[in-house]
Symmetry: C2
Subunit: 169 residues, 2 copies
């Protein structure tokens, strides 16, 4: 029955509800298979519409809809480019906001590697390109300690007053 420790008025679990939960909001933005896979492709270096559709294995309709949404949300920006002898086209470049989702995407991959391949591990491994060491996504404190669920403390970030408002039941 290991769980995080809830501090302050969060401890009374019946007194509040996570109505402005970042997890829920994040899932509203990237909560589809296609959005996550498009991000994966972008991390692999893909920038062009047709490549996204083809490499992710989704229809152009879905690629179009998702890229439009992700661009509107600011995870990609549409940037004109011109190859000699070609007309101007647009490519989809990751913004910082898009790049900052890397830990979330890699954490999913890491979990899938461990549990969804019959113990054989995933098809692609991650290493630090400078040192060659394996890379992992971890929950760590500022001083570098890895923090397990049971040693995680959750605290209200604002005054109880304001928090009650934004955590209203």
């Amino acid at each position: 029955m290991e769980a995080a420790r809830l501090e302050g008025f969060l401890a009374d679990r019946d007194a509040w509800r996570a109505t402005h939960c970042s997890i829920g909001r994040a899932m509203g933005v990237v909560g589809t298979r296609s959005a996550m896979l498009i991000l994966r492709e972008a991390y692999y270096g893909t920038t062009r519409f047709d490549d996204f559709a083809e490499r992710v294995g989704i229809t152009e309709a879905v690629a179009s809809a998702r890229l439009k949404e992700l661009t509107a949300e600011g995870l990609f920006e549409r940037s004109p480019y011109k190859e000699p002898g070609q007309r101007t086209r647009y490519e989809y470049l990751l913004t910082e906001k898009g790049r900052d989702l890397l830990p979330a995407v890699l954490a999913l991959m890491q979990w899938g590697d461990k549990y969804l391949h019959g113990g054989r591990g995933g098809p692609i491994g991650m290493r630090d390109d400078l040192t060659g060491e394996p890379v992992r996504v971890e929950v760590r404190s500022a001083s570098g300690r890895e923090v397990p669920l049971g040693e995680l403390r959750l605290t209200p970030n604002v005054s109880e007053e304001a928090a009650r408002r934004s955590l209203r039941r």
Copy 2:
């Protein structure tokens, strides 16, 4: 145009497709808003059916369907318990598989905190309960270096032969 470095035959981006991608599989298991929010609640310590429905803010029908799926996938196990004078009931306890999704869920929360609250940050903060230090989800190499997207190297995990089979276009 920063991206990961693709090693070996992965470098020829037109020669393979991530058909057995762990990210896609993981999204098949926990790729719904309700699944992620139920996990969040479990990390907060919730174990009982009604509490999940009420605290997550979903209907009992959705809670029932999702808990059944997540239990079938092995993220929760159904365990009988008995309060005195009550009949035997079941609670949903996180398994290691469920607990191992913590980095993914927290990474989403961290991202949402940064970008989806108008710069004000999220309503709940994370600290190391032992030291009080802030906690973050990070992509790190074995020796503790934080690895940005541009310094991440992706390598095929198996022989080119076998990999081609599992990464078939």
